[in-house]
């Protein structure tokens, strides 16, 4: 993950204009996000291995999503509130 991108991401979501962020903090957030993605990827890859499928599909990803929630990465509340009301086109 690029540091610049993360900085923009964080600054985009700051509600107070006065708030700023130090360069070191941005670096740490970048690392946290990297670990988050790697963790999710590894878990879903493992799940695919267990299901003996060579491709990680949505099914496997859905299975490991609650694990990410339980580790405090995501909250259930937030996801359900901001869920798209549009119907899915499969």
């Amino acid at each position: 993950m690029k540091v610049e991108t993360v900085k923009k991401l964080v600054q985009e979501n700051l509600k107070d204009d006065k708030s700023k962020i130090t360069a070191d903090a941005v670096l740490l957030i970048t690392e946290v996000l990297n670990v988050f993605v790697a963790e999710a990827a590894c878990r879903s890859a493992k799940q695919a291995d267990r299901d003996s499928s060579p491709v990680v599909t949505r099914e496997q990803f859905e299975k490991i999503l609650p694990q990410l929630v339980s580790f405090g990465f995501l909250t259930v509340n937030d996801a359900s509130q901001e869920m798209d009301p549009k119907p899915r086109h499969n």
Partner: protein
């Protein structure tokens, strides 16, 4: 006097421009922001795809496109949540600048992550302090060298 009037004129003009722009296209700003967010999402998507490919090679699997887009969306949401929390933490500590301490507080719930982040932070601090020392040393050395040259 003239500089003040010039400033006032500038402010008035600037405001006028802003107002007219808003009056003419009330949704223009909204669209611009949306485009910006879309670009950020695209950047996140790209990196997530890269990381997934890397991990997939290790475990000998490939990732479906749906998974990558779902994961990048999750990452985006996670970063949103994180920035909100960080802002609140900083505010609680009566600061307006988000610090490394806030990030450590954010990841306290997963001990391994906390250890990792702490380690990274310590290393970074050590590096910066050694840099400062080096700077000090060089600044001390410089005048001596100058004297030697003389």
């Amino acid at each position: 006097m003239s500089t003040i009037t010039r400033e006032i004129i500038y402010i008035v003009r600037h405001r006028k421009i802003c107002v007219t722009e808003k009056m003419e296209n009330p949704e223009k700003e909204n669209y611009e922001k949306l485009a910006y967010v879309q670009r950020l999402k695209a950047a996140v998507h790209y990196t997530v795809a890269e990381i997934c490919e890397e991990r997939g090679k290790e475990c000998d699997v490939t990732f479906a496109k749906q998974v990558i887009s779902a994961l990048s969306e999750a990452t985006f949401r996670y970063s949103q949540m994180m920035s909100r929390d960080l802002e609140l933490f900083a505010k609680h500590a009566k600061r307006s600048t988000i610090n490394t301490e806030d990030v450590k507080l954010l990841v306290r719930k997963s001990p391994q992550m906390l250890m990792h982040i702490q380690d990274l932070c310590d290393r970074r601090e050590a590096a910066s302090s050694s840099k400062k020392q080096r700077k000090k040393k060089t600044s001390r050395k410089d005048p001596q060298e100058d004297e030697d040259d003389k």
